[in-house]
């Protein structure tokens, strides 16, 4: 089971020049990059060892379309929690919705996700689910293999690579270094539309959307592009050599080349 979030395509993201706020309406939504690599890792495990790969998302109106890419890449089925009343909930509330959906689907041996989604950057859902489900967690995996008795992973920590082994089921989050996710063929894109997708609202999972919302703790008050404070000196010179000379002088005067 791979947890995927569709987010605004960050390569298309623009800021409103007057408010400095990101323009998120009518921007194409795509699967968050690190999540997609978790899916790629799952598909590679399937290709090697068999089994099935399903995806699970808490999303909105555009999620179904975004998840076609996952099905085209090689996922077998997609499950989506789509409930307008859940928009804007935090990782605390999201992980509870995911737990309810996982209980509904059942039958998973491994839950994979990205270490964080690139919109919220909160890096919490994997560990939170491990806590809620009482499962072992392996975070920041950059290499995965199934071995006798479970799963072996290399974790990418700041100063060390940690090789760990864990029994299944487990929750595993991956870092972007784990792989390059495949680009699906046209044929597989066509086939994706025929693969099963199931959508639920909160009530279908036995949840009250109001209660889930009320249980969300972190509220986003504002999001703006920060003003950059830079010197903004444009070097004026008559010749290229003179400009280069001045720039070299400025760089050395800033003492940024000294240890």
């Amino acid at each position: 089971m791979v947890l995927l979030k569709d987010i605004v395509d960050l390569n298309e993201l623009k800021m409103d020049p007057s408010t400095r706020r990101p323009v998120v309406e009518r921007v194409k939504r795509r699967i968050s990059d690190v999540d997609k690599r978790a899916l790629e890792a799952a598909i590679r495990l399937k290709e090697r060892h068999g089994g099935e790969v399903a995806t699970l998302s808490v999303g909105g109106g555009g999620t179904r379309t975004a998840m076609l890419e996952a099905l085209a890449m090689g996922a077998d089925a997609s499950y989506i929690v789509n409930d307008g009343a859940l928009a804007g909930i935090d990782s605390l509330a999201t992980s509870k919705v995911l737990r309810a959906a996982l209980e509904r689907v059942g039958g998973y041996d491994l839950i994979l996700c990205g270490e964080m989604t690139l919109d919220s950057l909160s890096a919490q859902v994997g560990p939170r689910l491990a806590e809620l489900l009482g499962l072992p967690q392996v975070t920041y995996a950059k290499h995965l293999e199934l071995v006798e008795g479970g799963l072996r992973a290399v974790r990418d920590l700041e100063d060390v690579d940690e090789v760990v082994q864990v029994g299944l089921p487990a929750v595993v989050s991956v870092v972007r270094e784990i792989n390059e996710s495949r680009i699906p063929s046209l044929m597989n894109i066509m086939r994706a539309k025929k693969k099963p997708t199931e959508e639920w609202d909160a009530a279908a999972l036995g949840l009250s959307a109001e209660e889930v919302r009320a249980g969300s703790s972190v509220e986003v008050l504002d999001i703006v592009a920060p003003l950059v404070e830079r010197k903004r000196v444009v070097i004026e010179a008559d010749t290229v050599e003179e400009a280069a000379e001045k720039l070299a002088g400025a760089i050395l005067a800033e003492r940024v080349l000294e240890g």
């Binding site: 990782s91 950057l121 890096a123 560990p127 509220e219 008050l221 010197k231 000196v233 720039l247």
Partner: protein, 319 residues
Amino acid sequence: MAVKSVLVYSEDGELALQLLGKGRELADKIGAELVALAIGPRRSDPDRFVEHGADRVIVVDDPVLSKFGVEPYRAAVLRAVKAVDPEMILVGATKRGKELAARVAAALDTGCMTECFHLDVDGEGRLEARRLTYGGSTVATEVSKRRPHMATVPARAFKKLEPSPRKEEVVELDVEIPAPLVEVVETRQKARGEAGLEDAPVIVSAGRGFKEKGDLRLLEALAEVLGARIGCTRPIAADLGWLEEWIGISGHKVAPRLYVACGISGTIQHAAGIRDARLIVSINNQEGASIHEMSDYSIVGDLYTVLPALTKALKEKMK
């Protein structure tokens, strides 16, 4: 009434002191005591924590805690939370700290704000934070509505206090620590050379102003003089495949002392990756290119003539 408290923890000693600096300010604002948590056997910590602002230090030790494992450390933090019932909990946002904080937050059924570089108390005594979102291109202001209010804090976001001798109170808590669920088979120290673009002190970087791959030799010559790593924008790597790794919203976030942007227009996607550079220098032939606005020094000119001239000028001056 019980005394209010702010609890701080990081397994990184220096970061713990920075958390204490911020924690002291937050604790004073809400009239709380500042409690530092020391997990595991490093016994010199309690004194340092008190010197750097803690009113009290809680020590949780057990043989299992000599190595970091998320389940045992989670149990240790939860034990301390039970003892002091804190208003706020700050955890150092190392990779381990972030997974630990998320576990603890889930166990306490509360929210957590990740990698906050600004923290304050709002009018209702709640924790308010600023943190990066959208791949680093925006700053979100967030408020935590449930207690304990939790946040993780990256290194160098806040300053530690000047040490001052204070009377220490160290409390050691007994707790049953569970064994970790994940077995560590091997730990490999990363070679220093493996340090990626993230850690490079000087980076020279290529954008679409380069017409073909072979022209990158102009950049390589400059990199050699500066002892720099070479980076690029997303199109150069992802679309053209000239280089492997790019800098920006979907790539590496870098923080060099010097960043030289060559033929880079300066999209918000790229800007998100270079925000933390100390000095940004750019060369771009378009006068209206955004990169000039996000640079400290820039030359409006053709990189094909400017780069060789700059390389030569730097080479002479650095002799």
